[in-house]
């Protein structure tokens, strides 16, 4: 059992991180905290992807000595490059989403002068909107 837990510890870590993020996104009242939860959630997924690429005993996929392509390349010596590529894209996407979300927070703050969800709902109810 312990062996099982240890052999897959990367998954447990990312699951815990993801749950923290998801809880913050749905459960928190403060909008900035929701946004931070979103970032934790996305980081967890990024960690998960990066951990897929790992191979025991392998190194970063940069072929410094194989520039002219005559020697045989041992696949097991280099980690899987694809998850890293995907995550470069996903990181950019998550930053862009954060940017848009922050911009909308600025709009909200300009209008209501607060970033607490319940206070905003109260203001909206009072003004009848």
């Amino acid at each position: 059992m312990l062996d099982y837990v240890i052999s897959k510890y990367n998954f447990w870590i990312y699951i815990i991180l993801m749950m923290i993020g998801l809880y913050a996104m749905i459960g928190k009242k403060n909008l900035v905290k929701k946004l931070i939860g979103m970032n934790i959630f996305q980081s967890a997924i990024i960690l998960f992807y990066v951990s897929i690429g790992v191979k025991a005993g392998a190194t970063v996929p940069i072929l410094s000595g194989h520039g002219h392509g005559h020697e045989a390349i041992e696949v097991a010596n280099y980690i899987n490059p694809l998850p890293h590529v995907l995550m470069l894209t996903a990181i950019v996407v998550s930053i862009a989403t954060t940017g848009i979300a922050l911009a909308s927070l600025i709009l909200i703050y300009r209008k209501y002068n607060t970033l607490e969800e319940d206070e905003i709902l109260k203001i909206r109810k009072e003004t009848g909107a």
Binding site: L31, F48, T97, I100, K111
Partner: protein, 500 residues
């Protein structure tokens, strides 16, 4: 040359969107003709692609020339070509329409608006055309981000609606991304066709099951399926008219397309229908969506908010067609993607035109609109009849297939729900039509207005750039209904997976 059309569909609006800020910096009013002119090209290209697919069958387009599991490819079959034509034509129509609405509401934001408009269209078409699950995620995010920004500039309450949409939409997109990760860890591939080959051996793996669950939930969020639709009403309702006319017909339908694609192409129907209990769940959720959307729509006094709830119900229709999982139902679902896109486009365009002309969306204040805006109201009436399901308008035919599908699957409650929703729609739209055509002037109103009582009501039709798109969509509602038999026999029957 002919096969390069596939690349043009994405590349042209994308490059054009980069030029919008340049053109706007030079002369602001050139943005609009530029966007309209540019959007003609994807329409022509997607028609040409559909033509190619119909004559020679499905084909793929390798980007950069790399062979599929390593590089990225476009997958063009009947289904994607069909949805591409819908997306490109609706976006062109809405682009034509957007002129007055933007000049009037957001004159200082014309340039970024049109840039994002093109990016949104690019994103939607990228989702439809791609044959790679991760690439689909990237385009999903392009369309989502531009959609968030476009909604945020709407009326009172829009920023809050946007923020909710961002949070829930990101959960949906991340669930989708997580699904990709699980598929990748089990198969090592990202290409849809390749995945479809590898997956059948792995159907008993729990990893695949979890991936499937995350895909379904993520896409249900993106499609706004009950009970994950909570972001939808506020976001669509507070968006500017031109934006809601673009996203209401297209966003949820494209998500429904992705759902069909994943459930029946990446995963085989054998898995999605027989090995996991997802179809009944989706079916019952859509029944609830139909009723909940209908009832909430009945409670609204605001015309646009009413239509937004109708969108929630319409998503239910498409998903019911998917979840009965037989040829009839799926034909209905795919046909309804088209019909619903056209009908929703028409209705939201009409609401935008009414708002532009009268400044109100309250149903009670639409009196005498038949005299003020006869063409607009005629278009509205035609589409309303189509929503209720009266032939020869197109709404009848998709609903007919959907009901046949549910009966074939033995799901009588689902069939009853579809019939009931026709009744609900009849009540909903008759209420509006009654207000617009039949209601006499209220005495109090007449007193206040004094002399207006005897005055002839002036015709005050929407401007031509608004009227032409409205009339085109309304004519589309009738024409698509008349030719729906032909559309089914030449395109949709090939778009339905062969194993049904």
């Amino acid at each position: 040359m002919a096969d390069q059309f596939a690349a043009l569909i994405i590349v042209v609006p994308l490059i054009a969107s980069l030029f919008v800020p340049v053109i706007g910096w030079w002369k602001k009013r050139l943005c609009y003709p530029w966007v309209v002119a540019v959007l003609v090209i994807p329409l022509i290209s997607s028609l040409s692609v559909l033509n190619t697919v119909m004559t020679t069958g499905k084909f793929s387009y390798r980007l950069g020339g790399w062979a599929p599991p390593w590089g990225i490819e476009y997958m063009l079959d009947h289904l994607s070509a069909f949805v591409l034509v819908i997306v490109s034509s609706i976006s062109l129509i809405v682009a034509i329409y957007s002129k007055k609405s933007i000049e009037d509401n957001l004159p200082e934001k014309t340039v970024p608006f049109y840039t994002l408009f093109l990016l949104l269209v690019t994103g939607l078409m990228g989702i439809v055309i791609t044959g790679d699950v991760f690439n689909l995620f990237v385009f999903l995010e392009i369309s989502a981000l531009s959609c968030y920004a476009l909604i945020a500039i709407g009326e009172e309450g829009a920023p809050m609606a946007t923020f909710n949409y961002i949070i829930i939409g990101t959960i949906g997109a991340c669930f989708y991304l997580l699904g990709i990760g699980y598929l990748y860890i089990a198969t090592g591939s990202l290409n849809m066709a390749d995945l479809a080959n590898i997956l059948p051996d792995l159907y008993h793996s729990k990893v695949i099951l979890v991936a499937f669950a995350f895909f379904t939930v993520g896409l249900a969020i993106k499609a706004g399926l009950f009970p994950l639709h909570t972001w939808l009403p506020d976001a669509y309702c507070t968006a500017p008219s031109a934006v809601s006319a673009l996203i209401a017909p297209l966003m949820t339908k494209v998500a429904a397309y992705v759902m069909i694609r994943l459930l029946f192409t990446v995963f085989q129907p054998n898995f999605s229908v027989n090995m996991v209990p997802v179809m009944p769940i989706l079916g019952w959720l859509s029944v609830m969506a139909i009723f909940w959307g209908g009832i909430k729509a009945l409670a609204q006094t605001d015309l646009k908010r009413m239509l937004v709830y109708v969108v929630v119900a319409e998503v239910g229709y498409i998903v019911i067609g998917v979840s009965v999982a037989n040829r009839m139902g799926l034909t209905g679902a795919i046909l309804h993607i088209m019909n619903d896109a056209v009908m929703m486009a028409c209705l939201f365009l009409v609401v935008g035109a009414i708002l532009y002309k009268t400044g109100t969306r309250e149903i009670q204040q639409l009196r005498h609109l038949n005299k003020k805006m006869p063409f607009t109201m005629a278009a509205f009436t035609i589409t309303a009849l189509s929503m209720v399901g009266i032939p020869p308008a197109c709404g009848f035919f998709s609903k007919w297939y959907l009901i046949l599908g549910t009966i074939e699957a033995g799901q009588w409650v689902w069939a009853a729900a579809l019939l009931c929703s026709s009744l609900i729609n009849a009540v909903l739209f008759f209420r509006v039509i009654e207000c617009a055509y039949l209601k006499p002037m209220e005495p109090a109103y007449a007193l206040n207005g004094g002399e207006t009582k005897h005055e002839e009501i002036q015709r005050d039709e929407a401007p031509l750039t608004m009227l032409v798109p409205i009339v085109i969509t309304a004519a589309g509602v009738i024409l698509l209904g008349i030719f729906s038999g032909k559309i089914i026999s030449s395109v949709i029957q090939f778009a339905v997976p062969a194993s049904f």
